[in-house]
């Protein structure tokens, strides 16, 4: 990085919690008519917000890609009581807004907002003719929001002129209204659109396959001699830096959980390898910055060149928790199995964390529910039928039935799912304007994703039950139930036995149970239709449930005591001493993961000393390729050092920039709440 970027990096770190940002008393500013259509209210909030941002257009020294949030808080479209009233009529997921998606950046960059606006107006005329009131309302809102975005860019252009920044001013004269012509245009335009999406309330919005849709602009610049490769890297690095300017405002469950993800590599629409110069540049830029945003994902296959995997492993070595790998060989066919068109499946990206979605067209809700596998096992343990189970396979039948019952229960809660409109987000996707309907009313894909939490502890519990109840016959289901209910009080020898029972990732005996459990989970959701015309997708992700779900059950038969957390995502239980990453990969790729493509990575921690060996990067790359060959779906490699984490808990001031992978995202360790910190420390305990 050159001096300019170093200065920008320092400024960006300072801006994250910028004291100059104002907090606006929106209720005093915006009055709502209760009868106002939802789209109109969305547009009024958005336009008011962007008006405030336009008034505070700020360009800092050294910046070439502009836009920084000046206002802390977004207007709230509905009061709590209004929202509660709406929630009585339907299920609104999380904040009730549209999120976990990626808009159609390639088309918008190629068209420019003027063309989108014109298309919306043409469609509006047709809607009016058809007396389609809802269509007119949506398109009016979309046009108003597009105008607000253009006005914001205009305000920044005026500021650039005031500061004598001709180049920036000229660029803002082109984008976002007209098509991007250069690499720099394209980056600035994505910045503006991404910024605006956040202002609309569309959170966890990723930027998708940047190496694919930005490459034509870079190629043209390079071919015309307008840009050299090092200059392009500088632009890209600044672009990445811009994701960290406002990220202090984008708080999810924890600071850092903001879904600013992107996807690199993968294939083109015909299935040919499409990794390119920008794939590598993006890896390099992320490695230079060592920041938690944007979050890097890399699509691989068993054919991915080792060189690219080595460049990716360099990021792992730095301890960024990037990249997260997704295996096309499993994910693409898995998505096709679920009904995605092959061309769309080949274009997949990730939502906020790991959920596979289709950019530009998808309106999936990939995290709408979660099944706690250990809770399912716990319920079976308590069921009257369990006592009559003649053998372990009969017990597994009960587990299967319970998974189906759990699916029934969740499905019932999702009979009416509603969300608030997002006219701008809609206009930036393919389909809504043509249909004259907001994206919240449905996209090309409207599938629901279901996480599966605590997979390994559930498998381990079943393995312990098999051993103690059905093989050794030293316990009964009843005595195990009593033991977990009393947190193994007075049953320390039994606790030891449960912990010595087979564990997934350590003992082969657990693997058939894992395969059976995962396929039963996939079966329990297969063939169900959701209320939005889509289907359900099973996955192996945990999100934050690995901290919440364990609190809903007492201890478990694997020897996990009350209150102890599950592993994050798809990983061995905490405290299980495995031989190493290889047997973990081997064991966890045994189940048929093509049936679990809602996503959720196999998560493996490596001690950071591994990377002292110069050969480690190459060997890690080889291991990643082997993971692909074995049919894994998604892989997350983290480097971690328990001593460092403990020191960071004690002296946060010394470890401000210490990055850890939390569940589907990397965060700064010192910014996490203690339960999350403690879980990561436990993950580190079994290493070396």
């Amino acid at each position: 990085m050159n001096d300019r970027l170093e200065r920008l990096l320092a400024k960006t770190r300072a801006l994250k919690h910028d004291p100059d940002r104002v907090e606006i008393d929106w209720p005093a500013r915006l009055a709502f008519d209760p009868a106002e259509p939802r789209c109109a209210r969305a547009a009024r909030c958005f336009c008011a917000m962007l008006e405030e941002e336009s008034r505070r257009a700020r360009i800092f020294p050294d910046e070439r890609i502009v836009l920084t949030r000046g206002v802390k808080n977004l207007p709230r479209r509905y009061t709590e009581s209004e929202m509660a009233e709406m929630r009585r009529g339907a299920y609104f997921h999380e904040l009730g807004l549209v999120f976990n998606l990626t808009v159609d950046y390639p088309s918008v960059l190629a068209k420019g907002l003027d063309v989108l606006r014109a298309e919306a107006l043409v469609r509006r005329a047709a809607a009016e003719e058809q007396a389609d009131r809802e269509g007119v309302e949506f398109l009016d809102a979309a046009v108003a929001e597009i105008d607000a975005v253009c006005a914001l860019a205009e305000a920044y252009r005026a500021e650039a002129i005031r500061l004598g920044l001709t180049e920036i001013a000229e660029r803002l004269e082109r984008v976002p209204r007209r098509p991007a012509r250069t690499f720099a245009d394209a980056l600035q335009m994505v910045r503006i659109l991404h910024f605006a999406l956040w202002c609309e309330g569309t959170y966890h919005n990723g930027v998708g396959r940047i190496d694919q849709y930005l490459m034509p602009y870079l190629r043209a610049d390079l071919d015309a001699g307008r840009l050299t490769e090092p200059e392009a890297l500088e632009w890209l690095t600044e672009f990445f830096l811009s994701f960290n300017r406002d990220s202090g405002l984008y708080v999810g469950v924890q600071q850092g959980d903001n879904g600013q993800s992107l996807m690199l590599g993968g294939c083109d629409s015909a299935g040919r390898d499409a990794s390119n110069l920008l794939t590598r540049m993006a890896l390099a830029a992320s490695g230079d910055l060592k920041l938690i945003d944007p979050k890097i994902n890399l699509r691989i296959t068993k054919e991915t060149p080792l060189g690219l995997l080595e460049e990716a492993a360099q990021l792992t070595r730095l301890g960024l928790g990037f990249p997260q790998y997704a295996n096309d060989d499993v994910v693409v066919p898995g998505l096709v199995d679920l009904g995605y068109e092959p061309e769309d499946a080949r274009n997949y990206t990730v939502a906020a964390c790991w959920e596979f979605i289709i950019p530009g067209v998808g309106m999936d809700i990939p995290n709408i529910g979660a099944v706690s596998f250990p809770a399912v096992v716990d319920a079976v343990l308590r069921s009257p039928e369990a006592g009559k189970a003649a053998g372990f396979s009969a017990l597994m039948e009960l587990v299967r039935a319970r998974l189906f019952a759990e699916a029934d229960r969740i499905e019932k809660e999702l009979e009416r799912v509603d969300m608030l409109p997002c006219p701008l987000t809609s206009a930036l996707c393919a389909g809504p304007v043509a249909r004259a309907r907001d994206l919240s009313a449905g996209g090309k894909y409207n599938n629901f994703g279901i996480h599966g939490t605590g997979f390994a502890p559930a498998v381990d519990s079943l393995a312990a039950i098999r051993r103690l109840v059905f093989e050794e016959k030293s316990e009964t289901l009843e005595s195990l139930r009593e033991a977990v209910d009393t947190d193994f009080a007075g049953r320390a020898p039994l606790l030891a036995k449960t912990r010595h029972a087979p564990k997934l990732g350590r003992d082969g005996e657990a693997e058939p149970i894992a395969a059976e459990l995962l396929s039963a989970f996939a079966d329990s959701w297969a063939g169900r239709k959701n209320c939005r015309g889509g289907i359900y997708r099973a996955g192996t992700g945990s999100a934050m449930y690995y901290v919440r779900h364990p609190l809903e059950i007492p201890a478990s038969c694997d020897g996990r005591l009350r209150g102890e957390p599950f592993p994050a995502n798809y990983a061995p239980s905490l405290g299980v001493a495995v031989k190493g990453p290889i047997s973990v990969i081997r064991a966890f790729t045994e189940p048929d993961l093509r049936r679990a493509v809602n996503g959720g990575p196999l998560t493996i921690e490596l001690h950071d000393s591994v990377f002292r060996a110069p050969e480690a990067v190459k060997k890690t790359a080889q291991m990643v390729r082997w993971f692909a060959e074995r049919g894994g779906h998604q892989l997350q490699l983290n480097t971690i050092n328990r001593d460092t984490l403990l020191d960071a808990q004690k002296h946060p001031e010394r470890h401000r920039h210490l990055i850890v992978r939390v569940w589907g995202w990397s965060g700064y360790f010192v910014e996490l709440d203690k339960p999350y910190q403690d879980q990561i420390i436990r993950r580190a305990e079994m290493l070396l």
Binding site: A492, R499, I582, R586, Q622
Partner: protein, 297 residues
């Protein structure tokens, strides 16, 4: 078939030879190097390890310990035939565990076959990984090592051994004939100093070094560079006289010393026998021995 006594199998070991390797750590060693960081590998018998920091003081072990039939505190450690493992079986926290397990050659081979794809070179000119025998000292279990290596060779899996070279000639010849790569530790070129720091003289080792260099086999010499023990200019000169021009020697690897690596002694109820100052490996090593390179475990 001769079962081996191992104390660990480690996957994805990056310092034990070329490529991606799985390392079998064999229990028992004839040397007592004062800087040893694998003290659980020294005794040729199973031992009980105990971690006071992990122990939850539940008292389970007291009920089952055969050495304290009338109750009372379970001994911290025990070894050899005293080790019954009952306390470890009943220990819920994992504070007590038996170090040392028997493994038949066929089972050892089976345990790596499923991941053998990873041993293959990733690129046409890439390094082949495989299995490394380490310890402890593999030469104390030559029969197990040669049998296992023979089976691995039949499967086409590359084998290596990390050894101190202290063994009767017949065992040595068997060992070096059985594996593809020998990594020989030379702790000190001077016999009296060798004996002082490791407990044994180095003549048998140097004799075996001689045999190795005349065997036509390629091999690596490793030097654990211990400050004040073997990093003086005179010692480096002596190493250079010994190693420069030795036939078959492809590389000399210099391993640094870490003062913090004595952490495992407490598990055995012992203290590290010595602590040495930490300092950089002198550049003189690579100046005087052109094929020497530092590796950083």
């Amino acid at each position: 078939m001769t079962a081996g006594l191992l104390f660990e199998i480690r996957e994805f070991s990056l310092y034990d030879g070329p490529g991606i390797r799985t390392t079998f750590f064999l229990k028992g060693c004839p040397l007592r190097c004062l800087w040893c960081h694998n003290p659980e590998g020294l005794s040729p018998e199973p031992e009980l390890l105990y971690s006071e920091t992990v122990c939850a003081c539940c008292g389970n072990c007291e009920a089952v310990c055969r050495r304290t039939p009338s109750g009372g505190q379970t001994p911290r450690t025990c070894s050899g035939s005293e080790v019954c493992g009952a306390c470890a079986e009943t220990c819920p926290s994992g504070a007590r565990r038996v170090c040392g397990f028997r493994l038949e050659p066929a089972d050892a081979v089976r345990s790596v076959l499923e991941t053998r794809d990873l041993f293959e070179p990733a690129e046409p000119d890439g390094e082949r990984g495989g299995v490394t025998f380490s310890g402890g000292e593999p030469l104390l279990q030559t029969a197990f090592v040669t049998e296992t290596a023979g089976l691995l060779r039949r499967e086409g899996i590359h084998t290596a051994v990390e050894t101190c070279g202290y063994a009767p000639e017949a065992d040595w010849r068997k060992l070096i004939g059985a594996v593809d790569l020998v990594m020989l530790d030379l702790k000190h070129p001077d016999s009296a100093a060798h004996e002082r720091w490791t407990g044994v003289p180095n003549e048998p080792i140097l004799r075996n070094f001689e045999i190795l260099s005349r065997s036509g086999k390629e091999y690596i010499v490793r030097i654990p560079v211990i400050p004040t023990v073997n990093d003086s200019p005179e010692t480096i000169e002596a190493y250079a006289r010994l190693l420069n021009g030795a036939p078959g020697l492809t590389k000399v690897e210099l391993l640094p010393y870490h003062a913090g690596s004595g952490g495992k002694y407490t598990l055995l109820g012992r203290k590290p026998p010595a602590v040495f100052p930490e300092r950089e490996i002198p550049d003189l090593f690579s100046d005087r021995i052109p094929i020497a390179e530092k590796i950083v475990p």
